[in-house]
């Protein structure tokens, strides 16, 4: 039996019946990393200490490189944070440790989560376990690839515009972006504070519910976390969608959608219909503007959040050898020029531009107003729908290098995932097919705020009636 290839709930059953030990599971994953990570390159580094082997959920887990973990080097895959060892644990890391979670290591991402392919990392790209010539998606590409390659049982990622769901889709696993405020962002190195959420990447929907049980809940150290009771998400795992209303936005099936992705999503739709769900065509007229609004709002927030990386307090510091402007400004400018990669610079500059004098109203304020229109569209549809269904991404995983020189085409791969972040609502991606080239296709469901249970119920029902979640890449 290959312990590393099992789900968390299967492992927990084995632990309970004494058929396997936690230590065996941890070592199995560790050996799997040694065997396949030279090809996949999901990990940035392995944990500096062994787990304690105490607690109820001692599951080997991979952690995205932007979640503060005491004693580990955490860099957001950026040269500017090289050598940064947070002196404290993020809220979710505390919860993982308290539950018994066995941290295997820190996994790769796009630099500061700026990207959809994991290629902007200062450590170099991670590769898709299904096809090593393809990207794993991003920004949580290391999280998704490690789980898909059985190098971790489950993983934590963060999602600002699709950074959990798109890589989950590209790697054929389950990824959930919770409602904004459901999970504490304390200790998550910020990209865009009004959009970021931490969430699980797992091998199936039951594991997703289990990990949500562990990480959800109010944290007074994150003033935007919401003090709402946390349900037992495993209770939502009901194999029944009879009478549930699924909205299909007509805008989601416009040009740009790959035919085989469309085909798989339509198959899924027909299956859910057969299982008793009511399918309703709906309209989200402003979603075609979501990418544009997002890249204003998100980069504006990022430019402000990343101002703290100035060479004084964290990581890299470049001390110029001659004075150009003045010693302090030179130090800032040269540290940031050397510390940030091109995509980070581009986004910081775009955000700076959108916030600068004379452009604030035309860009930033307008972006926030369009955000309102998109949120209103979704609110309107949810008056008469339980979930909204779309593809997760318009295409399957693309080739490494294919989109690096054209940032705009990279941004457009987030077209289906961005609206949920702008509206703060939960959304899940789960596997619903394989392309002719053998790459996974993902299906996205969006739900009402704090109704993760509905997403879990519908995706669980789909999973119970299909076998896509059981497919594994050959490595």
């Amino acid at each position: 039996m290959n312990l590393h290839s099992l789900t968390a709930h299967a492992l927990l059953d084995l632990f309970k019946s004494g058929k396997a030990s936690v230590k065996e599971a941890y070592e199995a994953c560790f050996n799997r990393v040694k065997a396949v990570d030279p090809k996949v390159k999901a990990y940035v580094h392995m944990a500096s200490r062994q787990p304690d082997y105490v607690g109820e959920f001692q599951i080997p887990i991979a952690i995205k490189d932007n979640l503060c973990t005491k004693g580990e080097e955490i860099t957001c895959a950026s040269r500017i944070l090289k050598g940064f060892r947070p002196p404290y644990d993020a809220g979710v890391i505390e919860k993982i440790k308290k539950s018994g979670g066995a941290i295997l290591g820190i996994v790769n991402m796009d630099e500061f989560a700026f990207g959809s392919s994991c290629e902007t990392s200062c450590y170099g790209p991670t590769f898709n376990p299904w096809n090593l010539k393809c990207v794993p998606g991003g920004s949580s590409g290391g999280s998704a690839a490690s789980v898909a390659a059985d190098e971790a049982v489950w993983a934590l990622g963060s999602d600002t515009g699709g950074s959990i769901r798109q890589p989950a889709s590209f790697c054929g696993i389950v990824g959930l972006k919770p409602t904004y405020g459901r999970v504490s962002r304390y200790g998550l190195i910020a990209f865009a504070s009004s959009l970021d959420q931490i969430g699980p990447l797992t091998k199936d929907v039951r594991d997703c519910a289990l990990l949500m049980n562990i990480i959800s809940g109010y944290d007074e150290r994150d003033s935007t976390s919401v003090n709402e009771p946390v349900p037992d998400y495993t209770k939502a795992l009901v194999n029944d969608v009879r009478g549930l209303k699924i909205g299909i936005p007509k805008e989601a099936f416009a040009e740009g959608l790959a035919p085989e992705v469309r085909c798989s999503v339509e198959d899924a739709l027909n299956l859910l219909k057969k299982l008793g769900a009511v399918i309703k065509e709906v309209s989200l007229p402003h979603t075609p503007y979501a990418v544009a609004a997002y890249y204003i709002v998100a980069t504006a927030e990022a430019s402000s959040n990343l101002a703290r990386f100035d060479g004084v307090r964290y990581g890299l510091r470049v001390v110029p050898n001659k004075v150009r402007k003045n010693a302090l400004v030179d130090m800032y400018e040269e540290t940031r020029a050397k510390g940030f990669g091109d995509e980070a610079k581009r986004r910081i500059m775009l955000g700076t531009y959108a916030l600068s004098s004379g452009y604030y109203d035309a860009y930033y304020l307008r972006g926030q107003k369009v955000r309102t229109l998109i949120k209103n569209d979704l609110d309107e549809v949810f008056k008469d729908c339980d979930v909204i269904m779309t593809p997760t991404s318009p295409t399957v995983a693309f080739k490494v290098g294919e989109k690096v020189s054209d940032p705009l085409s990279m941004y457009l791969s987030d077209i289906y995932t961005i609206p949920a972040n702008l509206a703060g609502i939960p959304a899940i991606s789960f596997p619903c097919g394989l392309s002719q080239s053998g790459l996974p296709i993902g299906l996205q469901l969006m739900g009402k705020a704090f109704d993760e249970e509905m997403l879990l119920r519908v995706s669980y029902t789909y999973e119970q009636n299909t076998e896509w979640h059981l497919k594994k890449p050959n490595l």
Binding site: R313, A337, K345, Y353, R366, Q368, A423
Partner: protein, 86 residues
């Protein structure tokens, strides 16, 4: 071009990023493409729309000012600031 090289130099200085001449052309092109793409937002009528800065509306979040366990000085003060006054 929606953005000029001079614009990029100006924005880079605002963002405190040193921008050498040989990088200027590339950033002017890619930033120009993106700015041109977001121009589509100008088509929408947003006159009577309120901006959303946060999806979940929250007011001031306050807590009682009481001492709790926190980092000790040696843990928190692990960096040295550079000499900036000549």
């Amino acid at each position: 071009m929606p953005i000029s090289k001079e614009d990029v130099k100006y924005i880079a200085a605002l963002a405190r990023i040193d921008m050498p001449e040989d990088k200027l052309e590339g950033f002017t092109k890619t930033l120009g493409d993106i700015v041109q793409y977001v121009e589509q937002l100008q088509k929408l009528d947003v006159d009577n729309v309120k901006p959303t800065s946060h999806a979940v509306p929250v007011g001031n979040v306050l807590r009682p000012d009481v001492v709790k366990p926190s980092l000790i000085n040696q843990e928190a003060l692990v960096f040295k600031v550079p000499l900036i006054i000549e």
